[in-house]
C-alpha cells in the first residue's frame, strides 16, 4: 500500500517538475525570421495595420538603446506594441480580470541572438487565455489567431518601412505613445 501511494506521489512530483520546466517554453513562442531586425519589425507593423479587427500600432520600444545609454551593450531588441480595443475593451470592463491590463498592449519582440540571426518572440495567448476563464479564453484565442498573421514574413512583398512612433522618447526606453489604446 505504502509503495502504491509512494509511487503515485513520485509520479505526481515527476510530472510536476517536468511541467514546471516546460511551462516557460509553453507560455511564449519564438520563431526565426528570414529578415534582419529592422525589416522584420517593419513587416510586422504593416501586417498589424492590415489585420483589421480594430488592431493599431501603439508603440515601438528599443530597450537595447537604454542599455547603450547607460554605457553597456546589448544586441538589438525592438518591441512592436499593438492594441485592439475590440479585444481589450471587454477585459477592461470586467473587474475580475482587469489586472490582465498588465499584458496590454499586445507585444511582439524582435531580436538578434548571438548566432547573428533575427528571432520573433511572442506570448502564447491561446494557451494563457483559458487560464483566466471563458471570457478571456475566448478573446485570447482570437488574439492568438490574429497574432499568427502578424508574424507572417512574405518575401514576395516589397520591403516596407518601419513606422516610428510620432512622439519618440529620447535615448532611454524608446518611444511609447502613438495611436490606438
Amino acid at each position: 500500500m505504502l509503495k502504491i501511494v509512494g509511487s503515485f506521489v513520485l509520479g505526481i512530483v515527476f510530472t510536476g517538475v517536468l511541467g514546471w520546466n516546460m511551462m516557460g517554453g509553453m507560455m511564449f513562442h519564438e520563431h526565426l525570421s528570414p529578415f534582419g531586425v529592422e525589416e522584420t519589425v517593419a513587416r510586422i507593423q504593416h501586417n498589424i495595420e492590415a489585420a483589421g479587427n480594430g488592431w493599431s500600432l501603439s508603440g515601438l520600444r528599443n530597450p537595447a538603446a537604454a542599455v547603450k545609454a547607460d554605457g553597456g551593450n546589448a544586441l538589438p531588441v525592438m518591441m512592436v506594441e499593438a492594441c485592439s480595443t475590440k479585444y481589450s475593451g471587454p477585459i477592461l470592463n470586467e473587474d475580475s480580470v482587469r489586472f490582465l491590463s498588465i499584458l496590454m498592449p499586445c507585444k511582439i519582440s524582435v531580436y538578434k541572438k548571438n548566432d547573428g540571426k533575427t528571432y520573433i518572440g511572442a506570448m502564447n495567448a491561446g494557451l494563457l487565455g483559458p487560464m483566466f476563464g471563458p471570457l478571456v479564453g475566448d478573446i485570447m484565442s482570437k488574439v492568438a489567431a490574429d497574432q499568427a498573421k502578424f508574424i507572417i514574413m512574405d518575401p514576395s512583398k516589397p520591403t516596407p518601412q518601419i513606422i516610428y512612433p510620432k512622439a519618440a522618447g529620447g535615448g532611454g526606453g524608446g518611444g511609447g505613445g502613438g495611436s490606438g489604446c
Binding site: E39, V41, N114, G116, P160
Partner: protein, 547 residues
C-alpha cells in the same frame, strides 16, 4: 568679478597644460585642457603657437602655398610623407611581392581608383592627383599637411577636385543648389596641431563611399564616442585619439591592414626600450595576461585575439554596409532619372541607380577565422572564381602554425564586373571630375560598356568587351570599438554546440566538442551497470524474502 573668473580659468588652464606638456602619453589630457570653460586663449600643450608664425600670416590662395610655408620650418616633413602609403598609394608586400596600395588594389565597394582619381583623391594626402600613374610623386609642395593637422574642422576636400579643397564658393554636389564655401586657408594654417579622431576619421570613417560603409568598426560615431561604443576613445573617459595606439614616428603610421599582426608579442611595450613590434596592438599596452580577476581567461590569449571577445559586435552605433550588388545598378525611373529606394529603417538606401543593391546591418555578429597576418589579394589580372566566390583578400592563418589567433572579421559580400574572356576583375569608370562632361562615367550615363572600357584603359588592362558579374568576398579584421569589459563575450557564447566559434577548426573546446561515440558508449555502459545492479538487487530482495 568677471576679471577674477577669467584669471582663475586661465590659471586652471595653465596648470592643466603644464601637466600635459611633458610625456607624449599624456596627450589625452590635452583636449580636457582645451575644454576648460571660457579660457581666454587656447592653451596649447605644444610649445609652439602657429598663429604667431609670420610664415603662416599670409593670404594663402592654394593648398600647395600653405605646404610651402610649413616646409620652411618642417624641412623633412614632405620627405617623410613621400615614403608612406598615404602618399604613394602603393606598397609592395614583402611576403609575396604583391603590389598593394590604393593605386593597385581592387575592392568590392567602389572597386578601384583607376580612372576615378579626381574623385578618390579627396582622400589622398596630396594636391592634384588627377591620375595616379602620371602624378608627380616627388613634389614636396603637393603634400597636403592640413588634411591631417587641421584642428578647426573646417578643412574639407570635396570629391571631384583631385585632392584640393575648394578655393572659391561652389555648388556642391553639382546641381544640388547647395553651396560649399571656400576654405579659410590662413585661419586653418594658423591653427594646425596634432592629428585627431576628426582628421583621421575624415577619410577613414567614410571609406567605401559614405559614413560607416566600409569598416564596420570605424565610423563617424567615433568622433565623440560614448563609453559603450569604445572604452578607450570614450569622449568623457580615456578620450584616446587614433595616434594614442597608432603611435607614429616620422609620419609612418603603424598598424596597417596590409600587414596586420595576427599574433602580437606577449609582453607590453616598455618606454625607452626599443621595440619593433606593432604599437597598435592590444598587447603593446595590456600584455598577454591581462585578466586579473578571472585568471582562466589568460589561458585563452594564446589562441584568441582580444578583439574576439572584447568587440562582441561591430557597427554598434550605426549600421554598416554588408552587401553590395553592382549587377543591378543602372535601373532608372520611367523618365530616365536616377532612383533610390530606402530600406526598412528608412535611414539608408537599399537601391541606388548609380551603385546597385545594398544591405545595411547594425550590431553585426562577426565571422571568425584564424589569422596570422599574411594576406593575399586578388589583383587586376588575377583569375576570378566564376563557379563560386572570389576572395578579394584572403588572410592566412591556421591553428597549427604558431603565429595565428582567432580573429573577428567583417566579411563584405558583393557582385562586381569581370571580363568574360580574361577572367579578371574589371574597374568601372564611375565618378567624373567636378564640372566635367564625361560620357563614359557610369554615374553620369549608366552605361557599363563605356564605363568598363574607360576603366580598363586607365588601369592599363585589356577589355574584351564581354563582361558579367561575379560574387566576391572581402574580409576586414575587426579591431576598433572595444566594448567595456562587462560586455565581453561570456563563456557559453563560444563553449556551446552552435556558438560563435562553431566553424573554427583545430581547437578542442569543451562543451562545443565531444567524442560522440565515447559519449554513447559511456552512457550506455553506465545505464547497463545501473540496470545490472537494480536487477541484482531486485533478485536479492525477492529471493531473500522467499528464502
Amino acid at each position: 568679478m568677471r576679471i577674477t573668473h577669467i584669471l582663475l580659468a586661465a590659471l586652471a588652464g595653465l596648470s592643466l597644460a603644464a601637466g600635459a606638456s611633458e610625456p607624449p602619453a599624456a596627450a589625452p589630457a590635452a583636449p580636457a585642457a582645451a575644454a576648460a570653460p571660457a579660457a581666454p586663449a587656447k592653451m596649447l600643450s605644444s610649445t609652439a603657437d602657429h598663429s604667431k608664425f609670420k610664415e603662416l600670416q599670409q593670404s594663402f590662395k592654394s593648398g600647395p602655398e600653405v605646404t610651402k610655408a610649413c616646409l620652411s620650418c618642417h624641412t623633412e616633413a614632405a620627405k617623410q610623407i613621400h615614403k608612406t602609403k598615404h602618399w604613394t598609394w602603393e606598397w609592395v608586400n614583402p611576403e609575396n611581392n604583391q603590389k598593394l596600395g590604393k593605386k593597385n588594389v581592387i575592392n568590392n565597394f567602389c572597386t578601384a581608383t583607376a580612372s576615378n582619381e579626381k574623385f578618390c583623391s579627396s582622400c589622398h594626402v596630396g594636391y592634384g592627383m588627377e591620375n595616379a600613374k602620371t602624378f608627380d610623386y616627388t613634389s614636396e609642395t603637393n603634400v597636403d599637411c592640413l588634411v591631417c593637422h587641421d584642428t578647426t574642422g573646417a578643412y574639407k576636400k570635396l570629391p571631384g577636385l583631385a585632392g584640393h579643397p575648394t578655393y572659391k564658393d561652389i555648388e556642391f554636389p553639382p546641381g544640388s543648389g547647395k553651396i560649399a564655401k571656400a576654405v579659410d586657408l590662413p585661419k586653418i594654417a594658423q591653427a594646425v596641431g596634432k592629428t585627431s579622431r576628426d582628421t583621421c576619421g575624415a577619410c577613414h570613417f567614410f571609406g567605401g563611399g559614405g559614413d560607416a560603409v566600409k569598416h564596420g568598426d570605424l565610423d563617424s560615431s567615433l568622433k565623440k564616442p560614448a563609453k559603450y561604443l569604445d572604452v578607450h576613445m570614450d569622449a568623457k573617459g580615456l578620450n584616446f585619439s587614433c595616434a594614442t595606439c597608432h603611435a607614429t614616428q616620422g609620419h609612418n603610421i603603424p598598424g596597417s591592414r596590409y600587414t596586420p599582426t595576427g599574433k602580437a608579442e606577449d609582453a607590453a611595450h616598455m618606454r625607452g626600450k626599443e621595440n619593433k613590434g606593432n604599437p597598435a596592438s592590444c598587447q603593446s599596452c595590456h600584455g598577454s595576461a591581462p585578466h586579473k580577476a578571472k585568471e582562466r581567461l589568460n589561458s585563452h590569449t594564446d589562441k584568441i585575439a582580444c578583439q574576439t571577445c572584447h568587440v562582441p559586435q561591430f557597427a554598434r552605433a550605426q549600421p554598416t554596409k554588408m552587401t553590395w550588388d553592382w549587377s543591378t545598378a543602372g535601373k532608372l525611373t520611367p523618365d530616365g532619372k536616377r532612383m533610390k529606394i530606402p530600406d526598412a529603417s528608412g535611414h539608408h538606401d537599399k537601391y541606388d541607380s548609380i551603385k546597385g543593391n545594398f544591405t545595411y546591418e547594425s550590431d553585426v555578429v562577426p565571422e571568425y577565422a584564424w589569422l596570422n597576418g599574411k594576406v593575399k589579394y586578388t589583383l587586376l589580372g588575377d583569375p576570378v572564381n566564376t563557379q563560386g566566390v572570389t576572395k578579394i583578400n584572403e588572410y592566412g592563418g591556421s591553428p597549427t602554425d604558431g603565429q595565428s589567433r582567432i580573429w573577428p572579421l567583417k566579411v563584405f559580400r558583393g557582385k562586381q564586373p569581370y571580363d568574360l574572356e580574361t577572367k579578371s576583375l574589371l574597374v568601372p569608370h564611375t565618378a567624373v571630375g567636378y564640372g566635367e562632361k564625361d560620357d563614359s562615367g557610369f554615374w553620369a550615363n549608366y552605361k557599363w560598356d563605356a564605363a568598363l572600357k574607360a576603366g580598363a584603359a586607365a588601369a592599363g588592362q585589356p577589355f574584351s568587351g564581354k563582361f558579367d558579374f561575379v560574387s566576391t568576398e572581402m574580409s576586414w579584421p575587426i579591431t576598433h570599438m572595444v566594448a567595456p569589459k562587462a560586455d565581453a563575450l561570456t563563456c557559453t557564447q563560444c563553449h556551446a554546440k552552435n556558438g560563435r566559434l562553431a566553424s573554427i577548426k583545430g581547437v578542442y573546446m569543451p562543451r562545443r566538442d565531444a567524442n560522440g561515440m565515447l559519449d554513447i558508449i559511456g552512457w550506455l555502459l553506465a545505464a547497463a551497470t545501473l540496470a545490472g545492479v537494480l536487477i541484482h538487487g531486485g533478485l536479492r530482495t525477492y529471493l531473500g524474502r522467499k528464502g
